[in-house]
């Protein structure tokens, strides 16, 4: 991260340190969620390709399941919603926060 990273954060959210922490958490969790999805897709592809043993499938499944649960816990802990990590929108999810009446 560049030296201006904290500046960017404080410009986006107000200078409240809790919000700064939340902004960082959002970024980190987004990265982890992204990797989780990537790993999930790889796992499913391997199962479809028939290249895994039953034992490997079970181990992968448990690992991914635990990761998903942990992600849900962490997301909730930081007061974030799934939508805050929404990767389908990429960076544009913020725009949807502007709900018009």
């Amino acid at each position: 991260m560049t030296a201006t990273f904290p500046d960017v954060l404080s410009r986006r959210v107000n200078a409240d340190p809790e919000d700064v922490e939340r902004g960082l958490a959002q970024l980190v969790l987004t990265v982890v969620e992204l990797l989780r999805q990537l790993m999930e897709r790889q796992a499913l592809r391997r199962i479809e390709g028939g290249t895994l043993t039953d034992e490997e499938i079970e181990r992968l499944g448990v690992g991914l399941m635990r990761l998903e649960e942990r992600m849900q816990d962490l997301t909730a802990e930081f007061g974030l919603k799934d939508a805050d990590l929404n990767l389908n929108l990429g960076p544009l999810g913020n725009l949807l926060d502007e709900k018009e009446g």
Binding site: T4, V8, L27, L38, L87, L89, P91, L92
Partner: protein, 56 residues
């Protein structure tokens, strides 16, 4: 539940709008200037990275 409540439906439509106008269409390389924060740019690049890794 097959029927979306109006708020959810409206939100998904908004997603479609944002996704198309900001993420698709003809691109004039190098001339897009949008006011999005640097963090968001990091997320854009991460997505692109994942997409390329994903196709390996």
């Amino acid at each position: 539940m097959t029927v979306l409540d109006p708020a959810a439906s409206r939100e998904l439509t908004l997603v479609e709008l944002v996704d198309r106008l900001l993420g698709k269409g003809v691109v004039i390389a190098g001339d897009i200037t949008l006011a999005i924060a640097d963090i968001d740019l990091v997320r854009v690049e991460l997505r692109a990275l994942v997409a390329s890794v994903d196709s390996l």
